[in-house]
């Protein structure tokens, strides 16, 4: 199959799916709930802290709710990816589709592009929402935020490719969903546990806690390579430090991560075939 034909197939498939996503109400309701939760749990809580303290030094309080929102959205889209392929295989749609001018790369590429386009829509809504939040609170909408918007696209790219990889690796829809959610919760849980233990004062820490900290810190070295969240958090640190080189490195490593997973997905997909 030529590159032009493959590109055409990707475009047609992705267009069909993005239309279906945009015409449904699921995405809009999800975004509303996510933004509402972000405003209540994060923005409102930061506001209350400022009102209680009178003066506070904070990293832009819009960042956390934004990270929360795009994290949920990326997980949602990753989950959709994890569902998509195994469901189509389960239903037999995949087999029918492959009788047409579609090959493995076109199919995987279309799935990936669809989710990324869906995320661009999410980003537009997120940008509007957090811009309005910054206006009503005067928290500020800084240039850092633009950097985070771009970065989040790459986080989603990692999440979606991760979801696609799981989807092609498992033959059952339920298994791919459970594995995807299990791993995402594990990555999130790990990040939270690591952050909590690092925030504990070293003074008076029991040897047991020190050993737990050593284990988590060593595990982090591995997690930095496999967890999509780690790629995003490295980029976020680079944004706050104003370190352009690290920021670009973070974007490049996200692309490499996604690329490797997509190539691996195509390879596994080819090996497993399109039949149920």
């Amino acid at each position: 199959m030529s590159i032009a034909h493959r590109a055409h197939a990707i475009r047609v498939l992705a267009k069909r799916e993005i239309k279906s996503t945009l015409y449904g109400v699921g995405l809009y309701i999800t975004l509303f709930i996510v933004f509402l939760a972000a405003s209540y749990f994060f923005v409102n809580s930061s506001l209350r802290n400022v009102f209680d303290g009178g003066i506070l030094a904070l990293t832009n309080p819009i960042t956390e709710p934004f990270f929360f929102s795009v994290g949920i959205a990326a997980t949602y889209l990753g989950l959709c990816s994890a569902l998509a392929i195994s469901r189509e295989r389960d239903l037999g749609t995949l087999e029918v589709l492959f009788y047409g001018p579609v090959d493995t790369f076109a199919y995987i590429g279309a799935k990936f592009l669809h989710q990324l386009l869906a995320f661009v829509v999410v980003l537009i809504f997120a940008a509007v929402n957090f811009f309005l939040v910054s206006q009503v609170t005067n928290f500020g909408f800084t240039s850092d935020f633009v950097g985070l918007l771009v970065l989040s696209l790459f986080l989603t790219s990692c999440m979606v490719s991760f979801g696609i990889f799981l989807s092609v690796s498992t033959r059952r829809m339920m298994v791919s969903v459970l594995v995807f959610l299990g791993l995402v919760f594990f990555f999130l849980g790990f990040s939270a546990a690591h952050a909590v233990i690092m925030s504990l004062p070293s003074q008076g820490m029991t040897p047991l806690m020190i050993y737990v900290r050593i284990i988590l810190d060593n595990m982090k070295v591995v997690m930095d390579w496999i967890s999509p969240i780690s790629y995003f958090s490295r980029g976020m640190t680079a944004v706050f430090m104003g370190d352009a080189a690290q920021y670009v490195l973070s974007l490049v490593s996200s692309i490499v991560y996604s690329g490797i997973l997509l190539v691996a997905s195509a390879w596994v997909f080819k090996k497993q075939g399109v039949r149920r």
């Binding site: 809009y28 303290g53 030094a57 104003g242």
Partner: protein, 497 residues
Amino acid sequence: MQLMRSCRPGSLWLVPVLILALSFAAFAQEGDQGPSVEQIQEAARQAAEQARQAIEALPDPSQIFTQIDPEQLNQGTPTREYQFVYSLSPWTGVQFGGTFAPKGVDTMFLMADVTSIMNAQRTDVYYWPITGEYMANWFEKRDEVPGKLQIEQNGKVIATLERVDYSYYYPTGYGGQQTLLLGEEAIRTYEDYQNRINSYYDSVSKYYDAQRVWQSTMDKILAEVRETGVPKKPDEIPEPPRQPQAPRDFAYQPRQAFAVNLPAGRYTVKVIDDEGNVVEGSERTLQVYDARRTGVGFGVIPEHKWTRRFQSNDPSDTFYLDGTRVFYILPFSAKEFNYYQYNKMTNLHKPLEAEGTRSAWTWVHFDAITKAKLQVLKDGQVIQEINYEPFYVKQTPGYALGYEIVKFDPENDPTLQGRAPTFEGYRVVLAGDGSSYELRFVDENGNVLEGSTRSVRSVQRPGNSLYAVTVVPLVVGVVVFGWRRSKARKGSASENA
């Protein structure tokens, strides 16, 4: 010497002071019985000698922090091992810390581009499980390993260091600012300090002598006044002698060690003996690290909660205000280091210290910034320049709780005379009218200090509009849904037609 074994770092400065106080107390006790001039001079001479001995006995920080406490030895029977160790007094940015690298500690840490003290010694080492650290018996057994310190990087010898004289100097007294002096300067400063201490004791001796003479003159005058009933004129009463002031500064007796100052990098260090052989157990890795970021740390004291001060080290921090606020900024030059490397540097003798923190970072405050000006900017224009000033916290008199922070100006406020300022810093008053400001420090030449800029915003109370803005996607969804339905209806109507 016995006193020094059990001493702790913070209490060391008390030694000369204690000796002085005891000497004078002893003198005062004898004074009632009328000591002779010779006795006074002898007491002062003894006090000077004791002070000198105490100063000379002050150990290096590496020994102070890791010396076996005699009490610990009575609490168990730890196995002591006579072994090669590197003792280190690394510069932490605030002071020279103390640790040692016993056998088994392969990597040592030092801060880049500053001089730290390192020595190769043999001593008795044992593990003390209660505190989970290695301790050394420096005072009973401490043998310097002769030789040179060879530093290699990537297999190439980049430096071979000889031991040099070094001393710590405290210009404002022990516990204050600490300076490392090397070579001739260390010896010269210590000799100067010793000379001043000696002349101080001489002055003390002369003072008490003069005091005796003055006292006897006063006794005569008083007796005369009692007899005649005629008071003396003020100019007939002699001025009492002035008590001499002890030197406030403090200098360690010079010792010899390796002064290491390297750029960031990974090195191998080893001690080469006089015959050119590597001393067994001396080959270790030396990790010299640098700061990830340099900036200005803001200590912030809100006027309405002056005891609840907080810090802002990260230049990406923004100050958020609720309404008009008055606050005081206490700036420090700051550097961000890897937490593990920074803490391990002074805790090599504690195997578990800082373990599991290799991915963490910490800001370390160095010197206070006092000479810079704080600029307040609005819309890119400097609207105010603030100087560093002393302040005093006055408690409100009476039963009601409260306080007032005033500028420390004892000349115009008699209630502040004889007092010291509570803190020194920059007083900032910013209006909470929804404006945005920028704070930054500039030096004498008007250059902005790196990492000293902070944004300030006064937040608004958004009420329900905070939640109202979240309905945007829902509205768009409803519109899309409605449009799709109407399109579908039109489609089915045209099909039916």
